[in-house]
């Protein structure tokens, strides 16, 4: 187990290293000169030169990268070109909002996806199963910004049940989280359906039925407990999916998380923030995958030896 864990950790670190190289490379893709962005249009050549030296941009690339990496390890993501603030602080101040949104989204998505999938599994190949699966597909095919806008129109504008956007109370989180929940739940209903079908095929389910246990107890007590484990692992794998959704949903609802931070930074080509958010998101994805691996290997020891 320890060896398996160490191997996975090493892999994760390598992946993050690779990603840091790509984000570092982004700096050189932008047409604008970062020094000019910081110094402003009217700066004298001397000022520009001194800022360039200060940032280490006159050094050869490997040295620049080593410096960037050295700062990263210390948790220093650099300074924003536009906002005149430390990127680490900017992200830290936005991260709680994003995490809150993601947690609420996962909750909604499970509340919709699991029952739908379990229901479908018990009605396998009947019309009601087909309908649930069609709706699931429609959910994952729906553009998140459209779902978000329609929820705003219906529940905030017409019915006035929720705020139109913004951040603060629990009421604010409902619509953005529901948007993500609706558009992701479809993957989970499909997953929980096949997971439940797999479980219902097992011998102990037959035993439970033979003992005369009612069908819904079989499904809820024995079935759900065993079918849920692979689904929990899947949440870890899907962190990337949630991150993507968060960027869109935060833009629609004006939710002050890191997605919005990145989005504003991109419009102003504020590369350090884009690099920072990308790295933080990637780290989240890598950690999610790691936890999923760990969970799966705890559930099924065979995974460790593959």
């Amino acid at each position: 187990m320890l060896r398996f864990l160490a191997g996975r950790l090493a892999q994760a670190v390598l992946i993050l290293l690779g990603i840091s190289i790509i984000t570092f490379g982004l700096t050189f893709l932008i047409p604008a000169d970062p020094v000019r962005m910081i110094a402003g249009r009217s700066a004298s050549p001397e000022t520009v030169e001194s800022i360039r030296q200060q940032l280490g941009l006159d050094q050869p690339l490997p040295v620049q990268y080593a410096r960037y990496l050295g700062n990263l390890v210390q948790g220093d993501l650099g300074r924003s070109y536009v906002q005149k603030a430390e990127v680490t602080e900017l992200i830290a101040s936005r991260l709680p909002a994003t995490l809150q949104l993601m947690l609420a989204a996962i909750l909604f998505e499970l509340l919709i996806g699991l029952p739908a999938g379990f229901f479908s599994a018990t009605r396998r190949n009947r019309p009601s199963d087909k309908i649930v699966m069609l709706v699931s597909f429609a959910g994952v095919s729906a553009p998140q910004f459209v779902v978000g806008l329609l929820l705003i129109y219906l529940f905030a504008h017409k019915l006035g049940l929720f705020p139109l956007g913004g951040y603060g109370t629990l009421w604010h989180v409902v619509l953005p989280a529901l948007t993500l929940g609706i558009t992701i739940a479809g993957w989970y209903s499909r997953m929980s359906r096949s997971s439940m079908i797999e479980v219902l095929r097992q011998d102990y389910i037959r035993t439970a039925r033979a003992k005369g246990m009612s069908e819904w107890r079989v499904v809820l007590v024995h079935g759900a407990r065993n079918a849920i484990l692979p689904i929990v692992a899947m949440i870890g794998i899907d962190i990337g999916l949630y991150m993507q959704g968060v960027v869109v949903v935060e833009a629609v609802f004006g939710w002050p998380g890191i997605g919005q931070l990145a989005w504003q930074a991109i419009q102003r080509l504020d590369i350090p923030i884009i690099m920072g958010v990308t790295l933080v998101a990637a780290t989240g994805i890598v950690i999610g995958n790691l936890l999923a691996d760990l969970a799966t290997s705890l559930i099924d020891p065979r995974v460790r030896h593959r």
Binding site: P31, P143, Y153, H157, V248, I266
Partner: protein, 283 residues
């Protein structure tokens, strides 16, 4: 293959998806003949006296947009944008994925390891953020958007093709071919690629759904296809600030995007079931 075709035809959801695709393709191809107006023309009577867009009516079937243009005509022409990007971007993505997957799977060794580690890394890369950053940096046009999407979407295909190629490589008939002196280009093109076709078809179809959604999302964020070219995501982007009073400007393009993505998802899923009967019994 005949068997697969029969299974495919029996699946009603797949048929529904296929019908939608046929309709969208036909609409895109016949756009000039089935639209009443030019999608770029701004009608004087396309706005109310206060300058607001018109809701659906007899003259403008789906209403007008903020500039008084006919929404129905713009939607039909927008199908072209969606389809072109969906098909081209995904074809490039599937090509890159297949190429890398086959090389990594067949060559193995350090080449394989290097390619697959790179693929793992791209899996962990927040694709939308990368696409947004690239699109913002590169001043988006139709083709740039397609290439940006291709650059972030090849990963899934590469993984699937890699696994399949690895499994195929160990089969006896490949060994026999090698023993008979067949060179690797021949083995790959004659003995491996044909077996990958079903997987390429499946991912080639499912990927279009992903691409259509990504294009719409980029356009909605204002960094996709640039106005005045009609694109479904772009129409929503343009009318965002007005949608509480003119919801049709979100609803109709929204439904279009959903139907298109749904259709490709259904057909892709149906293909997967039909081409891989072992999966069928399982769910």
């Amino acid at each position: 293959m005949d068997d697969a075709w029969r299974r495919l035809r029996r699946d009603r959801l797949t048929l529904f998806g296929a019908a939608v695709i046929v309709i969208v393709v036909a609409a895109a191809a016949l756009a000039p003949w089935i639209t009443p107006y030019d999608p770029y023309e701004q009608f004087f009577d396309g706005l109310t006296l206060e300058g607001a867009p018109l809701p659906p009516n007899e003259r403008f079937w789906l209403g007008t947009d903020l500039l008084g243009r006919d929404l129905y005509s713009r939607l039909v022409y927008g199908a072209r944008t969606s389809l072109i990007i969906g098909v081209v971007a995904n074809a490039v993505a599937v090509f890159i994925g297949t190429l890398l997957g086959v090389i990594a799977g067949y060559a193995g060794g350090w080449v394989g390891v290097a390619i697959m580690r790179f693929t793992d890394m791209m899996m962990a890369f927040p694709a939308l953020l990368l696409a947004i950053a690239l699109a913002a940096i590169l001043k988006p046009s139709l083709w740039i958007v397609a290439m940006v999407i291709a650059l972030v979407n090849w990963v899934q295909t590469a993984r699937v093709i890699y696994t399949q190629t690895r499994a195929l490589r160990e089969r006896e008939y490949i060994e026999a071919a090698r023993a008979l002196g067949a060179a690797w280009p021949r083995i790959v093109t004659v003995h491996i690629l044909p077996h990958l076709v079903p997987h390429i078809l499946v991912w080639g179809t499912l990927g279009i759904a992903v691409t259509v959604l990504l294009e719409a999302t980029l356009s909605f964020l204002g960094i996709g296809v640039q106005p005045p070219t009609p694109s479904w995501g772009g129409i929503i982007f343009e009318s965002q600030s007005y949608f509480l009073t003119a919801p049709w400007l979100v609803v109709f393009p929204g439904i279009s995007i959903l139907l298109m993505a749904l259709a490709f998802n259904l057909v892709g899923d149906g293909l997967r079931d039909a081409l891989d009967p072992t999966q069928r019994g399982r769910d």
